[in-house]
Symmetry: C2
Subunit: 169 residues, 2 copies
């Protein structure tokens, strides 16, 4: 994806010559966003209702999913470059390591969002909290457990420092 590559400060690596494992796309995510620039910066930035459409093959795997209030959704950022290790974010200047960012550009372009589940109807899950392009391939759905997944005290230092600088302006 051209807008993810060749920004000042970007750093690339040669990827391994052989893959280690394979993934199956188990469904598709339907969102209102058809172009990268339309997507919200993260899942918290939009109240849009999105639909996770699971393939019929895996139907039985949804048993009891409707009892969850929140889901971890894993999806495949199939348009992202995989050879970037340092990248200047799209929305602000200074480059960071890709493992310190939620950019789709990373060796394994697996994105993660926590989504609020509204309803399950057949193979379709209505959720709020996704940020991806319409048609994004689905990899996994997991129940979100507050006991092991919620850390309200967590901080990302470089990001907090940037926000503080912006507010001081």
């Amino acid at each position: 994806m051209t807008d993810d590559t060749d920004r000042p400060g970007d750093r690339k690596v040669a990827l391994p010559e052989t893959a280690d494992a394979v993934v199956y796309f188990i469904g598709r995510i339907r969102t209102p966003w058809k172009h990268r620039d339309d997507c919200p910066k993260n899942g918290g930035e939009s109240d849009a209702v999105c639909t996770i459409a699971l393939d019929e093959r895996y139907a039985a795997g949804l048993k009891d999913v409707a009892t969850c209030t929140h889901l971890v959704v894993l999806y495949w950022m199939d348009q992202a470059p995989r050879d970037l290790v340092v990248q200047a974010p799209r929305h602000y200047g200074e480059p960071h390591g890709v493992f310190a960012m939620r950019t789709p550009a990373r060796p394994n372009p697996i994105a993660l969002s926590v989504a609020r589940l509204l309803k399950v109807e057949g193979m379709k899950l209505s959720v709020v909290g996704l940020d991806c392009l319409d048609g994004t391939p689905l990899l996994d759905i997991k129940p979100y457990f507050a006991s092991t997944d919620a850390f309200p005290e967590a901080t990302v230092g470089w990001h907090a420092a940037r926000k503080a600088r912006e507010q001081a302006r």
Copy 2:
């Protein structure tokens, strides 16, 4: 892995004949647990310090990771069966859909833990909060953002009901 298969209530599907994408193992996770039965039930159950050893190739990707207090760690459960869609959990009886559980058995055996970062030394990250076997392949490291990832109010209905039943006994 035999202890993940052929339990009463298990339900399998035929997986697709072709894969949709490939992943690279970008490092290994070192933990104290050499056998499945030694592993904690989840990352919150142990204070053991584990080590994420990233491959040298991706070194630059760690820039600014040390400023994060918590990380999302994705890893590949390479010993889990991929064809189960309904499974009776190891620790208690009633079967659930794999998408309503955090079992490693799922079409794409990608596991997720939120880990507390203690330090970064070269390619090695010391963390608390992992639950996997020693040598587990690493897929990704992401910063944990409380603003989009922390939902302390989230509940998993089937799990809460089971706990309530246990406490009523």
